[in-house]
Amino acid sequence: MGYTIFILLLPLLSFLLLGLCGNFMKPKAAGITGTLSTAAVTMLSYFTAFRYFSAGRGADGIFPTLMPYNFRWLPFNDTLGIDMGVMLDPIAVMMLVVISTVSLMVHIYSFGYMKGEKGFQRYYAFLSLFTMAMLGLVVATNIFQMYVFWELVGVSSYLLIGFYYTKPAAIAASKKAFIVTRFADLGFLIGILIYGYYAGTFGFTPEASRLMSAGMMIPLALGLMFVGGAGKSAMFPLHIWLPDAMEGPTPVSALIHAATMVVAGVYLVARMFPLFVGYAPDLLPWIAYIGAFTALYAAVVACVQSDIKRVLAFSTISQIGFMMVALGVCTSTDPHDGGLGYMASMFHLFTHAMFKALLFLGAGSIIHAVHSNEMSAMGGLRKYMPLTHITFLVACLAIAGIWPFSGFFSKDEILAASFGFSPVMGWVMTAVAGLTAFYMFRLYFGIFWGTENRELHAAHRPKESPLNMTLPLVFLALVTCIAGFIPFGDFVSSDGQAYHIHIDPAIAAVSLTVSLCAIGLATWMYARDRQPVTDMLASKFSVLHKAAYNRFYIDSIWLFITKKVIFRCISAPVAWFDRHVIDGFFNLCGKAAAWLSEKIRPMQNSNIQQYTIWYLAGAVVLVLILLF
């Protein structure tokens, strides 16, 4: 499996080439370079996945964990050090396929979407950097390598959100994303250090005896790591950066803020899953509660947003909440008894990456056509953009959980796992699934049916996007149609053994009914030219509507905490202390030295005999000191 190193090297080379020489290349050449390298990586990833899974299970019925590369990068002492390498196990291989597929689609799509943009080469350079970082993250052999690439994806996300660097909103959003995730990563880093100290290794499989003797420190370390994961995966209340991150180009939102980077937190928890189950079982329910609350909160907010990318952003947050719930409701590593959620979470990660990338790319196609993010500029677009319409509908059906689209299968597993945890959790998640169906179809009808903005469409007739944009849509739609039938449990499960997915008919019936009702409601409310029900509801519950539209003022609360509390009560006094006391002390030292030298300067009067007297006097004093 030695060729796997090229999965990381090719995007890195392409990044260096485009980053250093991009300005000397034609935009098209730069784009082709980036796309070709990503295509090669995709082929390699598929080949790796094929080889890995076709090599079969070991004697214990588990796919072996392979490490084609692992070298000591930074030794701390004889045993502890940071390794860099490539590790292949079922979830890493699954992620390779997901990331490279979505990345390739986004590369192709960007040819059309970003055509004629200033900085086209820079855009492709950053895409390559992101692809490299994300792939490095998933094949990390140890938690520290993961952290290094974790920060790299953060940087590339920052660079790409702020791609339109002349737009103040984009700059603010990129800073916000970086600062919030960095803030969370502080927890991650502390968690890693505690873990490294007590486990004596940064690897994923430490000695059990050391962990047992560490007592409460391992749950603490895992909890702090989850904080980092929550920041990256936009869990409440650290989700505030993700909706703003939509200021970046839409393909970037599809790649980074929907399909790959934001699920890094889920991947992190999945990676540490055996430790969570083994040493911090009390922590998992809290992950589930946070995930469930996030899913509910984001779904409610998504129901009233008018910017289509924001709706999708909140739906992403909600869906990641689902994945977190699925991991959190696990109580053991046995998929038949309390460990189903692990498989469900990874399955949903896989299907969600495909249909959410499809949704975002579809949204990009729409924005490309009408030059606006607002739903008010859309409506009735199905006549103008048939391909986008069909693929978007497929993705909406998938995320709503309608058979036979992929979302149905993975969501059903999550619901089954939730019901296994507690009926309350199960019903809450079912309700959120219903909300999901409702807001997605509100979005769908708002864009493609509903009231058409005739004035705008007459002035600028929307037309279907070019082939290089619709082709990825069609491909992803096909994947969304068939991905549900992949026997996912045969590849990934919590204990590594083959697990055969079986649909629980009761749960499936309930969730299907709820989703269909929600879709029906959305159709009744939004598919018409006029929407009296919506307006009536909005005016009747205007307080609630306004609060939800303003995302329940979470951003304002954060602003209040940071600006009013932290800045004013902590930072300002500390800054005053620094400026006046600390700086003052050193200024005083400097001034005293200047004063003293001014005073003793006349001694140097160019009279050599005077010097000699001073010299002699000094010598005499020294002698006296030495004598007595």
């Binding site: 140097q604 009279n607 050599i608 005999q609 000699t612």
Partner: protein
């Protein structure tokens, strides 16, 4: 005991040394100051020779060092006189109080 005692040499060397220091501090003429420096050097040379003679009679380091110091001081004097001659050529006198061209302001 007809031999001159060691203390007398040391007294002589000390007197010479302080004469040199006094001369260096009071003379205003560069040549006179140079002569005073030579006095200091020579007093040290005497000390070397005397200590060698009285305390370590079997060895020669002190004597060697004296000869070495004489050689060095001869060279140093030559350099110093060359400098003084140059000063004289530039300023038409060799009074130490005039040597303040290198000082700023």
């Amino acid at each position: 005991m007809d031999m001159v005692q060691m203390e007398w040499y040391l007294v002589l060397a000390t007197v010479m040394m302080f004469c040199g220091i006094y001369g260096f501090l009071t003379r205003r003429n560069l040549l006179a100051m140079l002569i005073s420096v030579e006095l200091i050097l020579n007093s040290v040379d005497i000390n070397f020779a005397v200590f060698n003679r009285f305390l370590f009679p079997g060895q020669l380091e002190g004597v060697f060092f004296t000869i070495f110091a004489i050689g060095v001081s001869a060279a140093e004097t030559a350099v110093a006189i060359a400098i003084i001659i140059n000063i004289y050529r530039n300023m038409k006198n060799i009074q130490v109080k005039n040597l303040d061209k290198m000082k700023e302001d």
